[in-house]
Symmetry: D2
Subunit: 269 residues, 4 copies
């Protein structure tokens, strides 16, 4: 009778097959954050009870691209970069829970399996997508410099359909990346019961923050953003009414777990 190991499935006698290595996980990369205001009702309808809209500016959302390398404490993923490099694009809003404000990921796409399922562990509702973000360069003509006038494209496609097109132009240096994605995350972790009768086996409300965050060069700027329809997506319900600001910055963070705020207890069998 075996004692199987592994942070995630498949669990084996050694743990080596686990789709995820055990945390802590370390991330280094670049993020493009585009903040705008949409109809507050379009945000509110995505906040399940008992979450409430943010007190101030409840229609503020951020569409974010992140171009990551990540690794475990073994650092071995960095030498096999198919296991460390990925991109993700996601939509964040704020919400209120028990009087505190949080950030919350509404939609998210990523391009590797480990990053997708790591997100599921963290309550991010990740799907696979094709995500692109222009990289700054230091030489030549084929890319922006990190200075005013530098222009970046950012795109998202899934299931063969373009979902988001954006262009960002640096106007100034900036020491922050906006307010929408700046709070601890508040996520649901849901897993339907295997009975598949509409009930859930796992219903948790969790919160988490990274640690050892390190910020590199940062900039603000203007942007254009277009959202497109798909039969299996609803991004166009979050149409921009008014831009707030865009931000590009280098960022690193480590992650080693969060906190369960609520867990619905389901009887054992």
């Amino acid at each position: 009778m075996a004692d199987v190991q592994g942070f995630l499935f498949p669990r084996t006698s050694t743990g080596a097959s686990s789709l995820l290595p055990p945390p802590p996980w370390h991330y280094s990369g670049a993020m493009l954050t585009l903040e705008y205001r949409t109809d507050p009702a379009a945000v509110a309808e995505l906040l399940p009870d008992p979450l409430e809209p943010a007190d101030d500016d409840p229609g503020a959302v951020a569409v974010i691209w992140a171009d990551w390398q990540s690794c475990s404490d073994s650092y071995e993923e960095l030498l096999d970069p198919v296991r460390s490099q990925y991109l993700e694009a996601f939509v964040v809003a704020r919400c209120k829970y028990r009087g505190e404000h949080y950030s919350r990921c509404l939609y998210i796409w990523v391009d590797r399996d480990y990053a997708m399922v790591r997100g599921h562990h963290q309550g991010y509702p990740k799907k696979l997508g094709s995500i692109h973000l222009t990289r700054p360069v230091t030489v030549g003509k084929a890319g922006p410099r990190l200075e005013p006038g530098g222009r970046f494209g950012a795109t998202l496609s899934a299931s063969g359909r373009r979902l988001v097109d954006a262009a960002f132009t640096i106007t100034d240096e900036c020491d922050h990346a906006g307010f929408v994605n700046a709070l601890p995350m508040l996520h649901h972790r849901w897993m339907p019961a295997i009975e598949s009768d509409g009930s859930d086996s796992l219903v948790e409300l969790v919160t988490m923050s990274g640690y050892d965050a390190e910020i590199g060069r940062g900039f603000t700027g203007d942007f254009d953003l277009s959202l497109f329809d798909s039969p299996i997506e609803e991004l166009t319900r979050l149409q921009p009414r008014e831009p707030i600001a865009g931000y590009w910055r280098e960022v690193a963070v480590s992650w080693n777990g969060g906190t369960t705020l609520e867990r619905r207890v389901i009887d054992g069998v």
Copy 2:
């Protein structure tokens, strides 16, 4: 305060964004099953307590390729086949639990996000992979006929590494597909706690079977099978000692949930 809907995340006011449509799910396709005997200890080490090895032939395993179309009761996925077509490759063994024998998926790879996460719901430890299986043809020279002598290739790669190569040759018609993958499935559904401290929030032992199974043409035959190493896989611990038999058949099934056998109750917060 919203009432969000959707079988799976992301849950929204309409449910349209859910990575999975609600079951029932219908599958039609072809399966290649290659049964062989490995060291029984290599199977036993993958069966967590209280699972036990099968009484008879405990080293029997099956490596299986499936070339599927699947859809929900809306059938709309069939007209947007990026949402219905996928391949998977997996390894199955048998085990015993409370005196009953079951089939159990040890390892599995698939090539679409919805199929990956649908598997996680069902306790299949799915990763993404690149999976290929020769298709039979009715005309011309570029494929086997469904008759003795027909040859099929079957391959699996993940993270840019070839993991399995196989070749199967039909010898006879056959009305079954072996005994290893023929029982109800017995799977664990595991989700680590967000605290990520080694504890699990979801620990369920579940069983499931399809319904309305329909079998088309079926054949048995001989095969060659090679398993390869990877730093993040352990297939080579299941090296073949002796082939049993190979099977190719057309198969369809529907699925509408399983049964929770055990659930470890975790206190609410």
Copy 3:
């Protein structure tokens, strides 16, 4: 000083690295052909001098999906199906040259490198795309039967944008697949000079037909077709004015070269 070998580059001492094995090449698969009439001027503008529009029905075009296995005379690709399976989607019109009528591929997308470059050899202007075509099934609910009422979806995306959506419904058996793609092909083979000054090193007008064509089950039916914009595609210039008919059939063919009709002689250096 070496004698390098190989049908195509890279050429080596053994020829084993060639992106293409030497012909003949054998193809077996299924094709969906959707014929319709567009503005004849939209076809004419794609026929370079001295090609002329077809005498009859010069606005007739066909959008075609093909789901192939292909192999060389070694047949070894069939046992490593990543080297034999691919899909393509393409647009064909007819034209007239020196009093004879031909079929001509206007646009085409494919999903494997060898199939892309094999097309370039044959004068097909292939790009990479993501192509899907519903497969018929013999059992279960997740796919159409090859009989009246059977419905198929067919889609094309490239560079993350959906370019074509189609749905086809079988109405009757049928022993042909229309008239647009039924003639010998007339293609240009163009390669710009390395000087990249607007001149071409290779300008050939070639024609080709397969041999040993074999036709399996065939059907006709109705269809819906939608073409979408992209900054680097021009399919929407070929908007349907009137459907002609759709066809699905099993087909196989072999190919072992074509005939050069015109070659512009460029002086040696």
Copy 4:
């Protein structure tokens, strides 16, 4: 009768569909160059007559990874990065022709269609592959810094098989990137005749260099390199006997055509 336009196929009335925009093309990125010595005979067998091995160090080869953004003079590709970002991995040796020494690409893989066919135009024998190269970071733990001790992984897979694994460690700053890939390129441009009878329609020997090269930060270091077998590749014929040195650097260049050195004249039809 139309006047079709476009640098490459498909040529249309506007030129907008061309798989390649017209040059000049601008490139900015990072390159990792690993130089080593192999059996000089393994290089010589890849140099078709009248090319000869280099006079000095004829067994020196370089395996190179490049992580590019590229664009045309319109710069519009930079805002739709699926059209500008790609990676390539390639093997270069030196050769002698008419008394002059050149660099020559022996094998190359790339991950986008436009980059693949642009290479074919330039005489690079490009196939599609899956290519990864660790990126340096400025913050956090998930990547190397551009300083001694910084470690980079570099991998290549094609057709689901790992072909190359490498690890590079920076030891010092360096103002060059070795000598193997430092000369003008000497390439063949081959296109078999459509008759596919073993004859070629296009046989050109061409040379080319970029212009406006700009070099950013550069480093040298040590490396490990492993080459793996595949039924359709021959990299293992170039096994390392002795490392020379590794180099990482930021680099940009523009390209606007080359020079035809020899063209075999084929009679018109």
